[in-house]
Amino acid sequence: MNREELKAYLTETFPTATIGDTFDFPLIVVAKENLLEVVGKLKNAPETKMDFLFCETAVDRIEQFEIVYHLTSTTYRHDMVLKVMLDKPELPELPKIDSVYSLLEAAEFYENEIFDLFGVTFDGHPNLRRMILGDEWPGYPLRKGYEYPDIEQTLK
């Protein structure tokens, strides 16, 4: 499917979701509760076959987190972006979202990275750990307004 066809298909199949555009790809914004259902449908439907998660990341939008999934199909070679908006509670409480690991195994490392650098927890993740910085690191560096720790203190 080309970009317009894919957008039409998404509008028809997911009436509750918001369909839009990024510069390169069609965009679908889904509610947090529907995430697994939508990704499962996109992966398994014979029209889309979105079986390849090539990038998963988060963007800190001050009041909310955007979790961004870049999906492509190895059969048809069409790409799309899926987004979930996530409310941002006060620290130390962390926002929570379902892990897509059960559908796309590539999510394991991406979600570990997001957990480490943004402080978003993933339900159903097989091995959620602070992959890069380690358990003792204070705070979540890729959040906006992150306060840098005193390096002398951190290294002690």
Partner: protein
């Protein structure tokens, strides 16, 4: 009297044993640690532990202008620095609507393909050394050195080249670039059959590679693997073919796809890719267009608000730059989807159930560069 240890009861049982390989192990090619759980010689579980060389490049870009960010990208995958620069430059060009002159595009492709050759040479040397052959390492470095000399003369650096920037390239190629590259190609064409004659027919090498480190097509798709590793599992994923950039669509070359799924196939795919790179350079080297090597851009670039994604094919797979702009001169968020970070996920399917002796050999054909994993 009761015996203190009852040997007879335990004789058939073995305990699980945890071995840390790295972070300073010479065969992990950098600071990467594999935490392996062993039962005898069999690997029961393997967890890659990373972060020893994390520099926070994604956070740093939020405080730098787009042009300054280019310098950080050279420090991710130091064996594909041209392609990293190119990805960052392309996404800024796309966002700001900057045209690139034809001469700059040709120079970019020439440099990137030379870099791919240099990177695969280094991989070939280190891969064969990991399975115990030392001579190929010296041969690979002898031939790679001639390419590095060209880089050093033309860009001023050997690894962190910082050469490709929004609007073109940093400076024009030197007058003797073309004869030098031709000389390199002439030599490489003689050396490649020599490489194959030296290593490919070796019985021990084949035993270590064939049927070892199986990565099926389904696993590779699910794990998001790209580059030569995915192409050796039968997935067509060459960005140069699927989403051409900088004029790759005008060139004639083949995407190397094979479906052997084992270490041996990954080895052959990379050797074949080197021949394709030589073929690409040959088409361009006599046809570099005249003209500017860079368009004049504003001193301070400001991308319109929005989200942009650009991917390029590095020597190890697909590098994606996800760039979120809020209309200011600094990126709101820049995510580097680095090929090695995704390819590291194959450590589990490749090694669980295999013998620890095969760990280094099968990871050698994944060709990991650690600074690119940590960023």
């Amino acid at each position: 009297m009761e015996p203190i240890i009852n040997f007879a009861a335990d004789v058939e049982k073995t305990d699980e044993f945890v071995v840390n390989i790295g972070p300073q192990h010479p065969s992990t090619h950098g600071v990467l640690r594999f935490q392996t759980t062993l039962d005898g010689e069999i690997i029961k579980d393997i967890v890659p532990i990373i972060g020893y060389i994390h520099r926070g490049i994604e956070k740093m870009t939020e405080f730098l202008s787009y042009k300054q960010s280019i310098y950080l990208t050279s420090r991710m995958d130091y064996l594909s620095s041209f392609m990293n620069n190119q990805a960052c430059a392309l996404v800024v060009e796309k966002a700001c609507g900057i045209e690139v002159p034809a001469r700059a595009q040709a120079i970019r492709i020439l440099m990137c393909e030379l870099q791919r050759l240099a990177s695969h040479e280094l991989w070939w040397g280190s891969c064969t050394m990991d399975v115990g052959a030392v001579t190929p390492f010296f041969m690979a470095f002898r031939d790679r050195e001639t390419i590095m000399d060209v880089f050093e003369a033309n860009t001023g650096n050997r690894l962190t080249t910082n050469y490709i920037l929004p609007g073109g390239v940093m400076m024009d190629i030197l007058p003797d670039f073309i004869p030098q590259v031709k000389e390199i190609l002439r030599n490489l064409k003689n050396f490649l059959p020599e490489y194959e004659a030296l290593v490919n027919g070796n019985f021990i090498f084949q035993k270590r590679m064939k049927g070892v480190g199986i990565l099926t097509k389904e696993q590779a798709i699910s794990l998001g693997v790209t580059g030569p590793v995915a192409r050796a599992s039968g997935i067509s994923c060459d960005v140069r073919k699927l989403h051409p950039y900088d004029g790759y669509e005008k060139l004639d070359f083949k995407e190397v796809v094979a479906d052997g799924c084992d270490s041996w196939t990954r080895y052959l795919v990379r050797l074949e890719e080197m021949k394709q790179s030589i073929h690409i350079i040959e088409q361009l080297i006599d046809n570099i267009p005249e003209g500017d090597f860079r368009t004049k851009t504003k001193a301070v670039l400001k991308a319109p608000e929005g989200e942009y994604y650009q991917r390029v094919e590095t020597a190890r797979g697909e590098l994606g730059v996800y760039f979120v702009s809020d209309g200011t001169a600094k990126p709101y968020r820049m995510k580097f989807r680095s090929p090695n970070f995704s390819n590291l996920a194959v450590a589990k399917p490749l090694n669980v159930g295999a013998k620890i002796g095969d760990l280094i050999a099968s990871m050698a054909t994944i060709d990991l560069v650690i600074p690119d994993i940590d960023r």
